[in-house]
Symmetry: C2
Subunit: 343 residues, 2 copies
């Protein structure tokens, strides 16, 4: 167990160092004005574990690609990830990101929207420059995948916003998983793995299996992330504990609670979720949290995450099983276990 | 004069019809949920004159391209234009767009940020599908140009936001023109013309001359647009009259006034521009407007626009002069005059 964590940490550090070094080149100034350069570099420089870049680099290398061949695609993904974070923080009215105030809290919504756009635009450049290392055909295939991924991501975000805006509470596990597939898995796991395989095999393998493996491991990851928001350590986690309840986020735990609660509690929950964020009190949040414990919502979500991680391990053997042993392959194999164990 | 206006209107209608028909295909549903499809289609369906698509289609055709060859690039541009409008309206706290309330006023900032992202992502697809009609090499060249254009645009927006956020008032004509070059001209004129020429000549012509022609005609267009915000007819114009003053927008007229005003007026202007938008009264706006008249700021801006349009006509002869006569070529030639005359 501890061995898994330290092995994954080691690999993440190596992939992350490579992608962050390259990312710095893309973040180098020369834009509109000095202040803008600093704003654009703010989130990327707050760190993060470069998980998405690592999945892409590891898969490409597991298939025999040279380390440099997937680097541009990995960097593009990290830039886009930061673009999403900036806009998501605005949309979710989040207050902290990676241990510091969110960009829009520091500089206002107008600047944050613009900086998110700038990061998204910046993510295009390494993909276009892919032509040099990969040739036109493969570079265009990666762009095709990127377009699909970006589309799924904004649709997933739209779905979640819609639920919140219209105070939708008639939701089941299938709704939750569809939202997470689109909002989180496509860009966090599915796309990095697909592009890694695309580059590693020179477009020589079917990509559906990466959709499945990526979905299982990505959904387990998201549920675990939401669990950490309830039971984690704020200093290590970097966001407000119970912030998801405050934001009215439809987590699997909340959806379970909505299904398990009695009629009276459901009315209270619906009223609380339908009120503006500022009207929710600490008392409300404690009440929700206590009901989640009482109805076993947290334990239930843990079990779903475990089931998904198990399915991911099975898919791993189909998608990666034939490849020769390598640290890159072992890194991918370790992920389903690592996802459940991280704190 | 009237002949110019009706000829341009006719051509715009033809180019616009082609690009809007194709745009509808890209806006067709199948996304996250029904409500989302309607939100994404909202701004595009409010109409507009498809000026950007028209510039692209006309230039490509003037160089002998088949009508269909530049259509995807034209549609991508209109989608991105709508993405920019949604985010710009959030960033500028605008209240009306094309005669109706802005998207964020109707649905809130979170949804508007997401819908703007969705439109930007949607604009990628026709560019990737360019491969079918243009081949990989040329499709990638168009993508390269698109990346440059998008970068210039967000940087231009960043510059303007910075001026407002930090209440910068030490600005001259050169600062204004640099901002307009980046924020408006690159995506409204320079890029459409460059991509039209790229496709029409199969990457067979230098693109610098389109930068100059596009800048001159685009800057004249923007100044005229800002003038209409002061002296236009609200019903035809579709935005609030004097809305720019309310927003603290650094127009050429405001920059001229800041330079011409006496010390006392300058202090008052700076204080007003530095206060929150909600603190600006109708009385403030009338005062600014009256000072613009007194110091000839409006007449000055009109003269700059005329000078730019003249320069555009000269550049036209260099960039398009050798081409055989066609309605497409005549349309481009008519633009500098049309820009000054539209109401």
């Amino acid at each position: 167990m501890a061995a898994t964590a330290s092995f994954v940490r080691e690999r993440l550090a190596e992939y992350g160092a490579a992608s962050q070094a390259r990312m710095k080149e893309y973040l180098r100034g020369g834009r509109a004005h000095e202040g803008f350069d600093a704003l654009v570099a703010d989130y990327p420089e707050r760190g993060g574990r470069s998980l998405r870049a690592s999945l892409c680099l590891a898969t490409a290398r597991a298939f025999g690609a040279r380390p440099s061949e997937a680097l541009n695609s990995a960097v593009a993904l990290e830039l886009l990830h930061n673009a999403f974070l900036v806009h998501d923080d605005v949309e979710d009215e989040s207050e902290a990101r990676r241990g510091s105030p969110t960009l829009h809290l520091r500089h206002g919504v107008p600047i944050a929207v613009n900086v998110g756009d700038a990061l998204a635009v910046l993510s295009l450049r390494p993909l276009i420059e892919n032509v040099e290392a990969l040739g036109s055909r493969l570079a265009l295939r990666v762009l095709e995948e990127a377009e699909r991924m970006a589309r799924e991501s904004v649709e997933g975000q739209a779905l979640e916003l819609w639920w919140r805006q219209h105070n939708v509470i008639e939701l089941g596990e299938a709704d939750y998983l569809r939202m997470v597939l689109k909002k989180t898995c496509w860009y966090s796991t599915i796309y990095p793995l697909r592009v890694g395989a695309l580059i590693g095999t020179r477009d020589g393998v079917g990509l559906d299996r990466y959709l499945r493996f990526g979905f299982f491991v990505g959904a387990a990851f998201q549920i675990q992330d939401d669990l950490l928001n309830l039971v984690g350590d704020e200093a290590r986690y970097g966001k407000e504990i119970n912030g998801d309840i405050l934001e009215g986020k439809r987590t699997l735990m909340l959806i379970h609670l909505l299904g398990a609660a009695n009629a009276e509690e459901r009315v209270l929950l619906s009223r609380m979720l339908g009120s503006p964020r500022a009207a929710r009190t600490l008392e409300d949040i404690r009440w929700v949290r206590e009901r989640m414990d009482r109805y076993g919502s947290i334990e239930y979500a843990r079990q779903v995450a475990h089931g998904l991680a198990g399915a991911a391990l099975h898919e791993f053997s189909l998608a990666y099983g034939d490849l020769p042993d390598s640290p890159d392959k072992r890194f991918i194999e370790a992920l389903p276990t690592w996802v459940l164990e991280r704190t």
